[in-house]
Every structure is written in C-alpha cells, then in structure tokens.
C-alpha cells in the first residue's frame, strides 16, 4: 500500500492504495465518488470515463499511481459551459433510460464539445462509439449532442 494524494474536482484526497489499483476503484471505493461507473474493467464500455488533466480517460485502464499531480474531474465535478449545455440537452431530450452508462456518455460528450464545437454525425459517432449503452439510447445521445452544440452557438 502507498499513500497517494488525488486531486479530484478541486479537492485533495489522501488515500492508501496499491499503486496498481485502477483509478476507477480509487475514485469509487477510496474517495467514495460513485457517479463514475464500472461496466467492463477492460476499456471496452466507457462507463468509467473521467477527465485526467482535462482529457477523457477510461479510469478502469489506468493505475492510480500513474495520475501523479494531474487534476481529475468526475461527473460530480463537471462544470464547463459545454458540460452545462450537455446536461441541459440530456434533460430536454430525456436521454437516459436505465442511466447506468450515462455518466460516461456525458463525460465523453462534454469532451467532444470542448474539442469540437460543431461536431457532425460522424464526429459524434467516432467520439462516442466507445461508450456502450445496453439500453441503446444512441439516437437520443446523438440528438442531444447536436442540441447542446446549437445551444452553445452565439
């Protein structure tokens, strides 16, 4: 076990963890932020997506010790204007069904809009296809991303 300090959503958390523990488990179990979900544990579903230094990362696929001093943002700490637009569009279009995949979907959608203000259908598909939704809310996700992009114009 090693003593590590994680900066999550602007707060420092000291944890005792095996350096090889996936970041996901540090966030969920050690820190207690359970908005980030476990779906597959092998980088295939996107449910565990968080930002590390502002970039989307599958937290199941990164050892906690590799984070270093980088700032982590989870679904609980999203607050960019893109994130707020995504949140609004998600509510407006009633995107979630069971909801399990949705924090990962929102993280990826936010990241896409931060990088590309006007994504095409193909841009959306390429950015989002690593986020699996077993309820198949894909059509609403795509519509909501377009809606959020529109709301951010002008």
């Amino acid at each position: 076990m090693t003593q590590l300090t994680l900066k999550i959503n602007g707060q420092s958390h000291s944890i005792d963890a095996d350096p090889d523990m996936p970041l996901l488990w540090a966030i969920r179990e050690s820190v207690g932020l359970t908005g980030t979900k476990y779906g597959c544990g092998v980088a295939q579903c996107g449910a565990c997506t968080v930002f590390v230094a502002g970039q989307p990362v599958r937290s199941c696929s990164m050892p906690v010790s590799a984070v270093g001093a980088d700032e982590i943002t989870t679904i609980e700490g999203l607050k960019s204007k893109e994130a707020l637009a995504v949140q609004k569009a998600w509510v407006k279009l009633d995107v979630p069904q069971c909801g399990y995949c949705q924090s990962g979907q929102i993280m990826s959608a936010t990241s896409l809009l931060e990088l590309n203000a006007k994504p095409t259908d193909r841009d959306i598909d390429l950015a989002m296809n690593g986020n699996i939704c077993r309820c198949a809310t894909y059509v609403r996700i795509r519509a909501a991303i377009h809606d959020a992009a529109k709301s951010l114009e002008g």
Binding site: Q44, V57, C60, S61, L115, L126, A127, G130
Partner: protein, 216 residues
Amino acid sequence: MMGSASLKNAALAIAAGAFAAGILMVAQGLLTSDADAAIQPALKLQPVASFDKIKNKSQRAVALFQEAGKVINSPRCMNCHPATERPTQTDRMRPHQPLVVRGEGGMGAPGMMCTTCHREANFDSAGVPGNPKWHLAPAEMAWQGKSLGQICEQIKDRKRNGDLTLAALVKHMAEDELVGWAWSPGTGRTPAPGTQKEFGALIKAWADAGATCPKG
C-alpha cells in the same frame, strides 16, 4: 429431398447458429487480450553473422531484410500499420474494438484519442497495452496487405518514411521506444521475434549491404 418442414427446420437451425455466432462475436469483441488466440512462443532471429556466407552483396541484403521481415510481419508491428484508418489488434489482427481511427497525427479522433485508453505503460489487469508514444503509423506507412518487398521499398522512400535517411531509419528501428514496445507488449500478446537490438542489427547490416529489397 428435404420436405418443407425439414427445410424450415434447417433454416431455423441456420438462423439460430447465426444468432449464436453473433453473440460469440460480441463476446470476442469484449476480450481485449490475445488469450482467445493461441499465443505463439517468441520466435528467434538469425544473427547478422550467419548471413556472412552470402558473398553477393545484394543477395545478402535481401536475405537480411527477409530475416528482419519476421519482425515487420509480426502482429505487434502490423496492427498499428493498418491499410485502413482503423487499427487491428491481437495476434489474429482483428479490427480494433472499440472502433477507433487514425485521426490527426495518428492520435485518434477528438473525444476518442489513443490516450483515452492507452497510457504510459501496459496495464495488464485491464488488458490494455501502453507506451508514452502510443499512436498509429500514418497512412503512407501502411503495411497491412503489402508484400515484404513493397514494405521494403516503402520504408526506404523518404516521401513515405517520414523523410528519414537510411541512417535515421536504422536508428529508428534499433532504438525507438514505441518500436521497442513490440518486444515487451504485456501479458497475453506474443512479442515480436528476437530482440530490438538483433532487429536493429539486421536492419543496419541490410543498409550496409546496399539496402536491396526482396522482389515482389
């Protein structure tokens, strides 16, 4: 002759088989390690000295490149030199799951970059390989579907090799960190044959012998 009932049964059996195969494909798609394919024991490379007996220089160069080609043709190298914009993965070189594309600088699409999953080092507990320089080879360096001779011509061509001189190419093969990943690819992946040092020595000897390419 099949009666209509047995025809219908046969059709149903085919449909059921297809459905099961579909599920299997999905399940296989979720396996990220090569555990689903037979992992080959690492192959050896012949040392450069064993080619000294070939007195004709260009024949020696061809033989050296063919030996180095065992590495070039390994899935560890081929997977990230795809013919399309989508890389392949595992020893069986199936399409990368999930779908990812080369994107700008070989780093993936905005929102789904290589670094979303591939970090500084292999992370075996999630079955995800990693390296600080992880990225796809550019389209002009596509190797999949090409003969060793074509790949040889391609890697010598400064218009298609990132403007590398032969000396710089030798250095790249012998020392580049991402090339070197092929020999320590993490659990469940067959490493490239030999060692990077042996591979680099073969490429250097090929260059020194005149860099003749295999025909075809």
